[in-house]
């Protein structure tokens, strides 16, 4: 005789309970004084033998009830006297990919899968057995195949869905490696999502007797894809009118049409809703426009609630919108003219007047610079300004050191020696002499003028420009520009070059708390270059001022995918930073450090993130971003038995559906639980009858 759960035989120790009750119950009986004691005694003496027998029988029956209960729960049975011809071992591969967290009814697919695994282990009580969990790495629940079903069933309890997809093929191979020479019946318990099966020759092994595909979702054979609508990466744009546009992509991964409500929430408040209908497999976009957002960080998310969708991970896409106050600009005009279009800042003024959102600016003459309070402004523009006195230069340098932005444009009023002396500490590079490329009055001037090239499109200044605008830069003409000291170029950032290869726009490598400095090595009027009359000049001027004013995001407005490596953009001047979680997003552990030389990092979970200059430090403004869940597990498109047989080179191995009869030799274990139950009922009835007569 053997038992399915021999450990439960320890319950036999409980037969002491009725004995104890029998003995203790008598000791604790009350004492009654009675008058007709002699008569009572006579009756008792007459009944004594019968009553003793009855009490003994009752005690034995109660002991039998406890014993039968323990015996029955242990699952007794007898092995057949006739030995089976062939016995196959059992290999169960349990899919624990993240998609198994799909909730179907009141339980997850993984919970259902574990119950099915337990049922198979109980049913196939003969031979060796092993369960291999298909997580990101195959994980056997025992070191070797063994016959201890109870231990395997117990180990199933600790299986939880993995963070990403599982690899069933690797798990099968790993499991088969652990078995010896015998024949193995393979049970694959999964949501049958085709992306979990991969390809290869997993079934080419001669050990495999048969494969049974067990659908954790209990669908008909062949199964249909489970209902799921997922959100893709959000696209977020700052509109030129100051609004924010969020484009949401939703995809129906299910086999049936889906519909649901999209909801955009910012700062805990629902800001927009939309209803979406998706045919099977379709992708649809919805666009939300947000206006009148206050300056600052606005964390939120976009969610979709679709009917019948049991996979929640891809139903939410975190969103972080940062808005900044436009900088107040002080423009120092170094070459004012009575004829307005000949004025040094004529084109700059026009550009800022049409900028959206509007950039507020004040204009002073170079001579009045010493009387201005620089700290009332965020950005200072020196437009062809002669080098000021050393005290003013120091004041400007202090302004920059404290975080103020500076845009320097050059011209004929600029003496490179004086500039190097006064602004040496804050110039991106020391200036050298001018170079007259061509005479503007010459007839072939356009042929010899320089265009603009090597533009750093990923830099915040140029990120807003569409690549189609590139000709506007390359076809611009510069007739004269300044050189810089070549040895200083390695410590500066070149955002744009002249077609001659000389630097055109330089950014100073600033410390994290210092202001940004940009230097345009030509004029912003038409004296040295015609860039000012090019259509890209107005947005370029506004972007340069916003950038040095610190109101442009350092990182592009994009959503990262959790668990997928992506390139993070470090703010200018920041060579090393740490990823910090914002709000209630789970803090990455261990902290993720990124380096300017290799800014690639993988954000661990969906949520809001930002960069911090130091570990545990405050987030750097303008670096907030978000990560959405990977859609890798969103597709529940099932694999068919025929397709699996082809993929895994099954050959002659039959791939069966779970509804088919369990393959392999029939179990020789004949359970007697029903007989135990019958005996239990019988004994209990007799006991009750006997007790009622007492």
């Amino acid at each position: 005789m053997s038992f399915l759960s021999p450990a439960l035989l320890f319950g036999l120790a409980l037969i002491g309970v009725p004995i104890a009750i029998h003995l203790i119950g008598r000791k604790r009986a009350p004492v009654l004084m009675f008058s007709a004691y002699d008569f009572l005694e006579e009756v008792v003496q007459r009944l004594a033998r019968r009553e003793q027998l009855r009490q003994l029988l009752l005690l034995l029956l109660r002991i039998a009830i406890v014993a039968l209960l323990a015996f029955g729960l242990a699952g007794p049975g007898l092995k057949s006297l006739v030995a089976p011809v062939a016995v196959s071992d059992t290999l169960i591969v349990l899919d624990a990919s993240h998609s198994m967290s799909y909730r179907l009814g009141s339980s997850t697919l993984l919970a259902r899968a574990k119950k099915k695994a337990e049922a198979i282990l109980r049913d196939r009580s003969q031979g060796l057995a092993l369960v291999v969990v298909a997580d990101t790495e195959p994980r056997p629940l025992a070191a070797q195949p063994n016959a201890d079903r109870t231990a395997l069933i117990g180990a199933l309890e600790d299986v939880t869905p993995g963070p990403r997809g599982g690899d069933l093929a690797s798990a099968v191979k790993r499991g088969l490696e652990l078995f010896g020479e015998g024949s193995v019946d393979l049970f694959l318990i999964s949501d049958l999502s085709e992306n979990a099966f991969g390809a290869g020759d997993a079934l080419a092994s001669t050990k495999v007797h048969a494969v049974t595909l067990v659908d954790a979702a209990d669908r008909d054979d062949p199964p249909r894809a489970l209902a799921n609508v997922g959100l893709g990466p959000l696209v977020h744009e700052h509109l030129s009118d100051g609004g924010e546009r969020v484009i949401v992509t939703a995809r129906n991964f299910g086999a049936a049409p889906a519909s649901g409500e999209l909801r955009l929430t910012l700062d805990g408040q629902v800001r927009a809703r939309a209803f979406i209908e998706l045919p099977p497999g379709a992708v649809s976009e919805r666009e939300f426009t947000l206006t009148e957002l206050a300056d600052g960080l606005h964390p939120g998310d976009v969610t979709i609630a679709a009917e019948g969708d049991g996979y929640a991970d891809d139903d939410t896409a975190p969103l972080a919108i940062e808005r900044f106050a436009e900088p107040r600009v002080l423009v120092v005009n170094g070459d004012p003219k009575s004829v307005s279009f000949r004025d040094e800042i004529f084109y700059l003024e026009r550009a800022l007047q049409v900028a959206k959102p509007e950039v507020a600016f004040d204009v002073v003459a170079a001579d009045d610079l010493s009387t201005q309070r620089l700290d009332a402004h965020k950005v200072l523009v020196l437009a062809n300004v002669p080098a000021p006195a050393a005290s003013v230069g120091q004041e400007i340098a202090d302004f920059v050191k404290k975080g103020g932005g500076l845009l320097i444009t050059l011209g004929d009023r600029v003496s490179f020696e004086a500039y190097n002396e006064v602004f040496g500490a804050i110039l991106p590079a020391r200036l050298r002499d001018q170079w007259a490329v061509a005479d503007p009055k010459a007839h072939d001037v356009l042929a010899s003028a320089l265009g603009l090239t090597d533009i750093a499109w990923q830099h915040p200044v140029f990120r807003r420009f569409d690549p189609v605008s590139e000709p506007a830069f390359t076809q611009s003409h510069t007739f004269r520009h300044f050189f810089v000291e070549a040895q200083d170029l390695n410590k500066t950032r070149q955002l744009m070059r002249f077609s001659s290869g000389a630097p055109a726009l330089l950014e100073r490598a600033a410390a994290p708390n210092e202001g940004r400095v940009l230097m345009w090595l030509s004029t912003i009027d038409r004296d040295f270059s015609d860039l000012a009359i090019r259509p890209v000049f107005a947005p370029l001027a506004a972007q340069m001022l916003r950038y040095v004013g610190g109101t442009l995001r350092s990182a592009p407005d994009r959503a990262y995918v959790a668990g997928v490596p992506g390139e993070l953009v470090l703010p200018a001047g920041v060579s090393r930073a740490h990823v910090v979680a914002l709000g209630q997003t789970k803090k990455p552990s261990p902290p993720i450090a990124v380096d300017a030389s290799n800014p690639t990092a993988s954000l661990p979970a969906p949520g809001h993130y930002a960069l911090a200059a130091s570990e545990g430090g405050p987030p750097i403004i303008g670096t907030a971003t978000s990560a959405i869940a990977s859609l890798e597990e969103s597709s529940f498109q099932p694999v068919s038995r025929e397709e699996l047989a082809k993929r895994w080179a099954a050959g002659d191995v039959a791939v069966l559906a779970a509804s088919a009869k369990t393959p392999g030799a029939p179990s020789d274990f004949r359970g007697y639980a029903h007989l135990i139950l019958l005996a239990l009922v019988l004994v209990f009835s007799v006991q009750s009858l006997l007790a009622s007569r007492g």
């Binding site: 119950g25 008598r26 009986a29 009350p30 004492v31 009654l32 004084m33 009675f34 008058s35 007709a36 004691y37 002699d38 008569f39 009572l40 005694e41 006579e42 009756v43 008792v44 007459r46 009944l47 009553e51 009855r54 009490q55 007569r693 007492g694």
Partner: protein, 303 residues
Amino acid sequence: MEALDPDVIARVEQLTLAAKEASLGAISGIHSAKRRGTSVEFAEHKEYAPGDDVRRIDWRAYARFDRYYLKQFQDEANLKVYVVFDASGSMGYGDGTRGTNKLAYARTLAAGLCHLALSQRDAVGLMTLADGGREFLPARTRSSHFEEIVHRLVRAQPKGKGALAAGVTSLTELVRGRGLCIVISDLLDRARPGDQSVLDALEVIAARGIEVSVLHVQHPDERDFPFETPAFFSSMEDSRRMFVQPRVLQKMFVQEMQRYRQEVAVRLSAARIDHQLAWTDGPPAELLSAYLSRRMHLLRVRA
């Protein structure tokens, strides 16, 4: 000193009242003339009491005193009533259950009968049996004797064996001439093999010409045995006890007690002993009334 005990005094007064109430409710007396029409010597006049034969009223005396008097003759006046009061341990049963405590119930019956007998100017004596011994109070006719009887009854506490058989047997020496012996007991005093049982003793004294009445006091629990919970049952007369599953033996016990009551009734009837079952869940006055009525009827039949 005991007589001054407030508790005893209270109980005496309570019992006195109960006895008078019980005796007033009786429609018959304890006895009647046994030798009606014979020329016996006139003894005295007795004031009429309920239950007396109205044919024996002395109308001349009525004409003189405007009150009813009966002529009494020597034989009638000398009737002695002995009450044998069983105060064995088993009589103490019944506190806190349905029905009255047997001893209290028996006290009321005894006091009521004594009061009735004394009001008929019969001499009344009392024998109390408790803890293997007995106390005897000789028969007196004076009305103040009632107080002494009541005191004895109140003092009697249930304890030990009653020695009822020996007590009853001793009456053969104490009763002289015409006498009535009223035994008030639960008759649960089982004799050991070879010893005389209480029924044997009653048969003996009845055979010697002493008129005997037995008031067989029983508690309803001794009839129905209503217990359900397994318990240790303890004797009230000694230290014996045993574990009993009441539901197992209830039926047999009830049958056994019924059989014993039938045996008592048959044997006493055969010995011409008046036997009255007294269940303590009924009013004592009604029981006393029924007993006296039946007794008068029996006396007439026998006469």
